[in-house]
């Protein structure tokens, strides 16, 4: 039951600003869809026509061109440039999104990814012609193994959730190999877990048994031991957890899980807090995915692509999926078939997110061991700086306990204002900030999770802190309108999400003639 009742319809608009003929507001321009402005008989690509020839397409040849508009280059550039300007981005401002690690995306990474020896290589070229590409995979895997202290890395998963699937499939294969797949059908997952965790477990036939966190935000060994039974295949824990706290009993939990014959999956989304400070392998983790688009700076691109390589312990390594890179002297080889190995199979075609590997390797080489440790320390320092700077105006569910790379607040401090976490978040937009992560983790009411990352200057952090303090004071002083009408300066005001779901319009359709 959604007991946090967030409104999904906006309140009625205040008097709008003076209207213009175009609907534009100087540099903030309205732009129609390509289906409305483009011509259906035009093209912006000059394609040479071949000499006439006899078609060999056969009976399923189509009769005409697909009904899609074409734009010349000037029209296309203008269209997409205008659209881009309605987007916030990390290049433009701080994203305090907890769990997302929105750090700066170094442009060197983009330059490296575009080297033809990386970008213009086909995955199925003869391996002798792709040694440089395989070298990147080998080098990145080695660096990740050093950072995690684990035995092997499965490089092929295409995103964090895909990495979770890989890790859980590896665990299921290991259990199968022990002959226990029929009995071990349960996965322990804390209520605070990211939704992908239980979704992943359910996808491959496990049922989910919740494990509660304690009053101080940690999962206790006792709670895990109460939930452990011969039917448990694995536990999925995030560390640091989704409340931004290091799981203090993780070593004891790992031991208890191992003694019970189960496996420890660690969601590595928050790895940015601990790179160079501790190794997940040393804590007893069996499998951990790493989000290259979080910890290792590959750009979010409006929602993806990401990459989710999975670090594996020695007892899981034999079951890793294909393909993987091996070395024979000075030649690199690709093992592409599971037959004859204990590998559980294949997670996707080809070899993984090479473009993201190049970017992540460039990031790691740039930072080095010293830079990586500094980055983790600065990330944790900045989050605690924000926590300490807001502790007198906003309520935190775990009191004054130091956080790791993200600071968690709840909505108790908004109690007498009549305002919700959502209202507070929307008011941040007018101040030029993307809101923090809201309503996650689910176990905290009206959660606000703030992760600044190590990329923010102190000036930027101070500006953010002062803005949140100003908003908090305004909320407590009863200035409701600043929040309930927000955002008023963004390209759009609050959207009618109810209508979008009740009357789904999921594509443009040509209007019927009147």
């Amino acid at each position: 039951m959604n007991s946090q009742g967030r409104p999904t319809r906006p309140e009625t608009a205040q008097a709008a600003a003076r209207k213009t003929f175009t609907g534009n507001r100087a540099l903030d321009m309205e732009e129609a869809l390509i289906f409305e402005t483009g011509r259906f008989d035009a093209s912006g690509v000059d394609v040479d026509d071949p000499e006439p020839f006899a078609s060999r397409l056969g009976p399923t040849a189509s009769a005409g061109a697909p009904e899609l508009p074409g734009l010349t280059e000037p029209e296309a550039v203008r269209h997409y440039v205008r659209l881009s300007r309605d987007n916030y981005s990390i290049d433009a401002g701080l994203y305090p999104l907890g769990s997302c690690t929105m750090k700066h995306n170094p442009r060197l990474n983009e330059k490296m990814a575009r080297l033809p020896g990386f970008s213009d290589v086909h995955p199925l070229q003869p391996v002798s012609t792709a040694q440089g590409a395989l070298a990147v995979i080998e080098a990145l895997a080695a660096a990740l193994m050093t950072m995690t202290g684990m035995s092997a890395i499965a490089m092929s998963p295409k995103a964090g959730a895909h990495g979770e699937l890989c890790g859980m499939m590896t665990i299921k294969a290991a259990i199968e190999a022990r002959g226990e797949v029929a009995t071990r059908r349960v996965v322990l997952v804390p209520d605070s877990a990211h939704g992908t965790n239980p979704a992943t477990a359910a996808l491959i036939g496990f049922s989910v048994r919740p494990v509660p966190a304690g009053d101080e935000g940690d999962v206790s060994v006792e709670a895990v031991k109460s939930a452990l039974a011969p039917d448990v295949a694995a536990i999925m824990l995030t560390n640091p957890n989704t409340c931004g706290l290091f799981e203090r009993q993780i070593v004891g939990i790992a031991e208890a899980v191992r003694e019970a014959g189960a496996y420890f999956y660690c969601d590595g989304a928050n790895f940015n807090a601990i790179v160079g400070k501790t190794r997940p392998g040393d804590l007893g983790v069996d499998a951990m995915h790493i989000n290259l688009h979080k910890t290792f700076s590959t750009p979010h691109g409006g929602g993806g692509p990401g990459a989710g390589p999975v670090a594996l312990s020695s007892r899981l390594a034999p079951f890793a999926p294909v393909p993987f890179v091996t070395r024979e002297g000075d030649r690199l080889r690709l093992v592409e078939h599971a037959a004859g190995t204990e590998s559980f199979g294949r997670m996707s075609a080809f070899h993984g997110q090479m473009g993201m590997f190049v970017r992540a390797l460039s990031f790691i080489l740039s930072h080095g061991a010293d830079g990586l440790r500094q980055a983790s320390e600065d990330a944790v320092l900045s989050a605690n700086y924000i926590r300490a700077s807001l502790a007198d105006v906003m309520s935190a569910p775990f009191g004054e306990r130091a956080c790791m790379h993200e600071a968690l607040f709840d909505d108790r401090w908004l109690k007498d204002t009549g305002l919700s976490t959502l209202d507070f978040a929307k008011a941040m937009i007018d101040e030029g900030f993307h809101p923090m992560t809201v309503y996650f983790p689910l176990i905290v009411h009206g959660a606000m999770l703030i992760e600044p990352t190590e990329s923010e200057s102190k000036a930027s952090l101070d500006r953010f802190i002062m803005t949140l303090r100003d908003l908090a004071f305004a909320a407590k002083a009863g200035d409701r309108e600043r929040f309930t009408s927000a955002p008023i300066h963004a390209p759009r005001r609050r959207l009618d999400e109810t209508r979008a779901a009740r009357q789904p319009v999921l594509r443009w359709t040509r209007p019927r003639p009147a």
Binding site: M1, T8, R502
Partner: protein, 125 residues
């Protein structure tokens, strides 16, 4: 006036002889927010008390609706699939979800009457 009973999961059953009309309570609809989708059980399905029978979704949440009692589904409300908003407007009336032929009337005794449900809501606040 037909008797109405409530479950701890905020379903109601309005008793009509050997049958009952099932929906979600007004409190539930308020908590969910604007309902955008409702899925009723198939006609003829046999349900056990406590089994997920229907689904009600808002923009931000999806809720299972559990069968308050065991029985066979004898009618479903086609209107909620077309205009799910009637669940918000009139959860106890036009926003009904399905009608069930009650297999064991004694199961009703385990449910709360109107006064007990109101008291239960107080404890939840």
């Amino acid at each position: 006036m037909a008797e109405i009973r409530y479950t701890k999961d905020h379903e109601y059953i309005r008793i009509d002889g050997a049958e009952g009309v099932v929906g979600i309570s007004d409190h539930a609809q308020q908590q969910l927010g604007d309902v955008v989708f409702a899925e009723t059980p198939p006609l003829g399905k046999t349900l056990k008390a406590g089994e997920p029978a229907a689904v009600v979704e808002s923009v931000k949440a999806a809720s299972d609706v559990f069968a308050p009692v065991s029985g066979e589904v004898v009618a479903v409300n086609a209107d909620v699939e077309k205009t799910p908003g009637i669940i918000n407007e009139d959860a106890l009336g036009r926003g009904w979800l399905f009608r069930i032929r009650i297999a064991d009337l004694s199961e009703l005794a385990a449910l709360m009457d109107e006064a007990a449900y109101a008291a239960y809501l107080e404890t939840q606040a």
